[in-house]
């Protein structure tokens, strides 16, 4: 169990979070660049000094600012941190890198078994400079696992790798986390990476955890307009005192009132996107973007679309239950509020 209640002062704002990650659970910290995601991981790893913190891992207190104050140095924390730069020691072979940690076993059966799981058994005698980016990440991951870290913290590790390799590595980490039953935290600013990895998703912005929950819950029921914007809701359509959030991928063509909010707009622009089309639609004052399988009408023409069960927000930006006139009874809404 990783239990981190942390406040770290940064120049622009204070990063605050209270996270609990169970053994074998995978939490994704999602947020824009500069939201404080890395700072949180560094506080858990003991690399930055928190203003106030209570961090526990596997029954040990790593940091406590309340008396009796505790601040274990990084080398006593058994926290595995994997960054974008895998940080292999360039003067050591892959084998020596894997067995670097004092707590790692001597090269032997365990090393060979892990190397074959990671697909690096033919590289053990190579120097890190010879490895490709993906191989280097596999070695770095293996090094953390052999060090018997009590948690894995992944700080945007796969930025810069291509999508299929990223997916392979993410799956590999997921299975190893489950097998070893350690809590894992992935920091990312790619929502799809977060969804592919995580059991739970926390949205961070300006140092605050805005929402934490299951990935589909967070994506479909953002607790605030700000969360919706971060998740990728591009259009916000006013309806009376409320605003409906429109995600480009939650729009279908046609008038289907029992599936959500029906909107009539004027096509402002259309362009190919992936295997389908993307259209900008002007609905009153608002501009919404939708992903459609079929080619939209040419600009200037009217188009009717249905926004599938959009989230609704009040004037204060907070999520509210769907109004009755949206065509169907409001779905049961569960909003988890961050904090205890």
């Amino acid at each position: 169990m990783l239990d981190a209640d942390v406040e770290v002062d940064r120049r622009e704002f204070t990063v605050r979070a209270d996270l609990q990650v169970a053994p074998g659970e995978r939490l994704a910290l999602f947020g824009p660049s500069g939201a404080g995601k890395t700072t949180l991981l560094e506080a858990i790893a003991g690399l930055v000094q928190p203003r106030r913190a209570q961090i526990e891992l596997a029954g040990r207190v790593l940091t406590s600012t309340a008396p009796p104050a505790v601040a274990l140095p990084p080398w006593q924390r058994r926290v595995g941190l994997l960054r974008q730069n895998p940080g292999l020691f360039p003067h050591l072979t892959v084998r020596d890198n894997l067995c670097y940690a004092p707590s790692a076993p001597r090269p032997g059966a365990e090393l060979s078994a892990l190397a074959s799981v990671l697909g690096i058994e033919s590289l053990l005698s190579a120097m890190p400079a010879r490895l490709s980016g993906g191989q280097a990440h596999r070695v770095a991951l293996g090094r953390l696992l052999l060090a018997r870290c009590d948690t894995l913290l992944l700080d945007e590790p796969y930025t810069g790798l291509d999508a299929s390799l990223r997916r392979t590595l993410t799956d590999l980490v997921s299975s190893l986390v489950a097998e070893r039953s350690v809590p894992a935290v992935l920091v990312t600013h790619e929502l799809t990476d977060a969804q592919a990895f995580a059991d739970r998703l926390a949205v961070l912005d300006g140092g605050e955890v805005l929402q934490i929950g299951e990935p589909d819950e967070v994506v479909l029921q953002p607790v605030s307009r700000r969360v919706a914007e971060l998740i990728g809701y591009l259009g916000f359509v006013p309806r009376g005192a409320l605003v409906a959030g429109v995600h480009p991928e939650r729009v279908i063509a046609g008038d289907i009132p029992d599936r959500g909010l029906v909107l009539t707009g004027v096509v402002a622009a259309g362009r190919p996107a992936g295997a389908g089309w993307e259209a900008d639609l002007r609905v009153g004052e608002a501009l919404i973007t939708c992903r459609l399988p079929d080619k939209p009408p040419i600009p200037g023409h009217e188009m009717v679309v249905t926004v599938l069960d959009p989230p609704w927000f009040g004037a204060d930006g907070k999520a509210v239950p769907a109004p009755a006139q949206s065509g169907r009874p409001a779905p049961e809404q569960v909003h988890r509020v961050p904090g205890r």
Binding site: P74, W75, F89, A129
Partner: protein, 254 residues
């Protein structure tokens, strides 16, 4: 054309070395090196050079590390201090050392109380060599440490290494080629130290002073063999360090 131009400049830079070899005769070398006591300055130079390297390594390595890692307040002030000692002409260093460690100074009196003297002694020679070579070592070692990625040290700590072990297992091996280069440059400076040496350590004579006194007493031709000795002593270490650090770099690049 550009290769020819580069070759001309290169040969011009090597000119003095070429001149040395074209003006040496085997007989002169044998005569010079077999005369009684001719090799004493060589021994003196090597001994004082080794002590100097030891002093530099023990005292200046931590300073260089702290400079490289920004562990010191007002880093510019510290760096300027090192640069000052680099920019002082050796002759001036010698003059000032008289005022610092000469017999009538507080330090000189402390030394006298310990039955030591920093004037015309082996200790004086070492002090002069340290002052002439230290800034080269500090700046080189600082660059060597600065080239070690701090994230790697952080990673080593997270894997369970205490700072001392991180230094031994990561920082030092990664900085070693640069440190070796810095140390060998310091060695060459110490071997050739003359300006400060001639003022506070005329005795015991090392090779540079031997060259100077031989030149004064018997002329150019008889001084040349000692110049060859100085080169032979001063150059192998830097060359070896250069070759080793190039090989270490190749190995790391794979």
């Amino acid at each position: 054309m550009s290769v020819v131009g580069a070759a001309v400049v290169w040969l011009a830079l090597l000119g003095p070395v070429i001149a040395l070899f074209t003006h040496l005769s085997g007989g002169a070398i044998v005569t010079a090196l077999t005369s009684p006591g001719a090799l004493d300055p060589l021994v003196t130079s090597i001994e004082s050079g080794l002590v100097t390297l030891g002093v530099l390594f023990v005292f200046c390595t931590p300073l260089a590390w702290m400079l490289a890692r920004g562990r010191l307040p007002f880093p510019r002030v510290w760096e300027t201090g090192v640069l000052c000692s680099l920019l002082l002409p050796p002759l001036v260093i010698g003059l000032l050392l008289v005022f610092l460690v000469g017999p009538y100074t507080p330090i000189g009196q402390v030394l006298a109380w310990m039955h030591l003297s920093a004037t015309n002694t082996f200790l004086a020679l070492v002090i002069a060599e340290v002052y002439e070579s230290a800034p080269y070592y500090v700046l080189g070692a600082q660059a060597a440490f600065a080239s070690v990625e701090p994230r790697l040290e952080q990673q080593a700590a997270l894997l369970g290494d205490r700072p001392r072990r991180v230094f031994r297992r990561v920082t030092l091996p990664l900085a070693a080629p640069g440190l070796a280069m810095a140390l060998s440059i310091a060695w060459a400076r110490a071997m050739g130290a003359f300006g400060a040496v001639i003022i506070i350590a005329y005795h015991p004579a090392g090779i540079p002073l031997q060259i100077y006194t031989t030149l004064q007493e018997t002329g150019l031709a008889s001084a040349l063999p000692y110049a060859l000795v100085l080169l032979v002593v001063a150059l192998p270490l830097p060359l070896a360090a250069y070759i080793w650090s190039a090989r270490a770099g190749r190995r790391r690049r794979g």
